[in-house]
Structure formats: structure tokens, C-alpha cells
């Protein structure tokens, strides 16, 4: 398993500002994942953060809006830039553990963002 600490757990932000979310893992991992989730709904992958290279963004998400840092194998940040009310959501970081044919995900507790 993996223990993931994510902060802040929640924030209320003014439109036009930016928020940086931090994610710390208790062990070294190659890839870290950032998801967005509306309450009660499934997860949408924003990007995959690789240490030592640019993050890989999914369709509909761009680096200018969601810049990601990955300075080492245990830490990553996601910034939500120039926020609007449409960015209000839960943001989750995650890592995978692969064993044989299994790939299992472990998550931080999430950051509930409200943009006003």
C-alpha cells in the first residue's frame, strides 16, 4: 500500500487567483496521477506526473491551466490557475502499485475547492 498526504484538504478561493495543491507519498513512485471529481461522481484524470519530465495531460486539460511539478520521487504539486467557479471540484492525487497482473490505486484524501 501507500500513504499519501494531500493538502490543503479544502479551500475557498476568489476567481482569478491560483491554488497549489501538494501531494506527498511515503515511498518513491515513478508516476503520480492527478484527478478531478465532482461530488458523488467518478474520477476524471487530469494528468500523469513523471519525475524528471513534463507531465502528460489528458484531453481537455492543458499545462497553462493546470501546471504540475514533480521535483522528486515522493512529491508533486498541481496548480489550478486563474480560477473560475467552473473549477470548483474535488482534486485528488494518486499513485499506482503494480503486482503481477494487478494495478491498484491509492489516493490522498482530496482537496475540496470552491471558487467564488
Amino acid at each position: 500500500s501507500a500513504v499519501i498526504s494531500q493538502k490543503p484538504s479544502r479551500d475557498i478561493c476568489q476567481r482569478g487567483t491560483s491554488l497549489t495543491i501538494q501531494c506527498q507519498v511515503d515511498s518513491q513512485v515513478t508516476m503520480m496521477f492527478w484527478y478531478r471529481q465532482q461530488p458523488g461522481q467518478s474520477l476524471t484524470l487530469i494528468a500523469t506526473a513523471n519525475q524528471g519530465s513534463e507531465a502528460t495531460y489528458e484531453s481537455g486539460f492543458v499545462i497553462d491551466k493546470f501546471p504540475i511539478s514533480r521535483p522528486n520521487l515522493t512529491f508533486s504539486t498541481l496548480t489550478v490557475s486563474n480560477m473560475s467557479p467552473e473549477d470548483s471540484s474535488i482534486y485528488l492525487c494518486s499513485v499506482d502499485r503494480a503486482g503481477g497482473s494487478n494495478t491498484e490505486a491509492f489516493f490522498g484524501q482530496g482537496t475540496r475547492l470552491t471558487v467564488v
Binding site: I4, Q6, G40, S42, L43, L92, G100, S101, A105
Partner: protein, 108 residues
């Protein structure tokens, strides 16, 4: 595009009732996982099923992987209020994808 469709989307039941949640796909998966997410928390892994036809039990929860490894079900016996949460299935091929989610509310 690989999709994992869950049904039902929402479920509200009384404590003590039984329920089944389904996770279906047209794709074959090497494994399927089930996660539960409570409000204010991230999803937590409940179980992984790997072999077609496999059945795993976790107390009152029974998980089954379809013979063709395209679908899975989660059955909860005698639901309790503590079972309330969002249930997500997850499937791995070249990357991990998540189901559409089932929001379960167990009323006292």
C-alpha cells in the same frame, strides 16, 4: 475508448437490506478493483479480483469477477449505515480506468 459502466448510479436503501452493484465493460481486463469513497476522503481499495469467475468475500461484501473478465459485481448483505459511500470499480489494461460510480445511501 474503454468504458466501465456501473449500475445503478444511485441507490438508497434501508439498513438490513441486501444490494448488488454491477460494473460492466466491453473490454477484457487483467484485473478489476473495487473502491469505496466516503465524504471528505479519497477512494479506498476494497478488493482486487484477477481470475475469471473468481469470488472474494470481505465480511458482508461479496465480489465476483465475470468469467470473461469483462464485468464484476459487488453484493452487500444486510447493509449498514457505515456502508454509505461512493463505490467505484477500476480496471487495468495499459492504464487504470474507473467506473462511472454508484452512490449508496443506507438509511437507519
Amino acid at each position: 475508448t474503454q468504458l466501465l459502466e456501473q449500475s445503478p448510479q444511485f441507490l438508497s436503501i434501508q439498513e438490513g437490506e441486501n444490494l448488488t452493484v454491477y460494473c460492466n465493460s466491453s473490454s477484457v481486463f487483467s484485473s478489476l478493483q473495487w473502491y469505496r469513497q466516503e465524504p471528505g476522503e479519497g477512494p479506498v481499495l476494497l478488493v482486487t479480483v484477477v481470475t475469471g469467475g473468481e469470488v472474494k468475500k470481505l465480511k458482508r461484501l461479496t465480489f465476483q469477477f465475470g468469467d470473461a473478465r469483462k464485468d464484476s459485481s459487488l453484493h452487500i448483505t444486510a447493509a449498514q449505515t457505515g456502508d454509505t459511500g461512493l463505490y467505484l470499480c477500476g480496471g487495468a489494461t495499459n492504464k487504470l480506468i474507473f467506473g462511472t460510480g454508484t452512490l449508496l445511501a443506507v438509511q437507519p
